[in-house]
Symmetry: none
Subunit: 92 residues, 3 copies
Amino acid sequence: MDPDTVIAAVSIFTAGITIAIGSVGPALGEGRALAQALSAIAQQPDEASTITRTLFVGLAMVESTAIYCFVISMILIFANPFWNHFLQATGS
Amino acid sequence: MDPDTVIAAVSIFTAGITIAIGSVGPALGEGRALAQALSAIAQQPDEASTITRTLFVGLAMVESTAIYCFVISMILIFANPFWNHFLQATGS
Amino acid sequence: MDPDTVIAAVSIFTAGITIAIGSVGPALGEGRALAQALSAIAQQPDEASTITRTLFVGLAMVESTAIYCFVISMILIFANPFWNHFLQATGS
């Protein structure tokens, strides 16, 4: 296999596996927080607005870890500096 | 495979797997803390501001571990000293 | 593969996997401590300041384990004595 092929194959596989593994934790964490929020609203309906606001700000924090994985996957696909190097090296 | 290809392939794979595994723990930890915060607000609505403040400062501490992984991934992609060495060694 | 390539590849992979695995435990531990602190504040609101102070000192201790992994990763990338040895041995 020539270098181009190896780099392209590794980039593709890594981009997929990164977001695949990286989405497991955030999804479970957000699901748990959301489940507890619904339980808390049922327990204290008068505080629904406070609970909802805290929930959404917190979910944004959890979501950020999934976004890190998404950013790395996108970089590996569309702005991969190693791939650009091998493209220039082979003159294609 | 020549050294350039090996180093590039390892850097790509490691950058992806680092943030993938590194996001699981923070996401689960933040989800658990957020769930408990919502439960605590439902239990003591009068202390909502204290609970919320403690929650967000604590979430920032947990988030920092995910940021460490993100920093290492970015360094491996864009500021990899080993890659720069092999680029200079091959004169390309 | 020549020695330079092997050492660089192993250093890159180890740097990534170190902080990836090393962040899982601290994140889960901090999430658990934070969750319990919020539960304690809801149970004894009058002691909120004592609970918060103890929480943050404790979180700093837990965070230190993640920082150890981060330091090792950074050393492997930017101040690796083995890598420097092979650089001098090959005269490049």
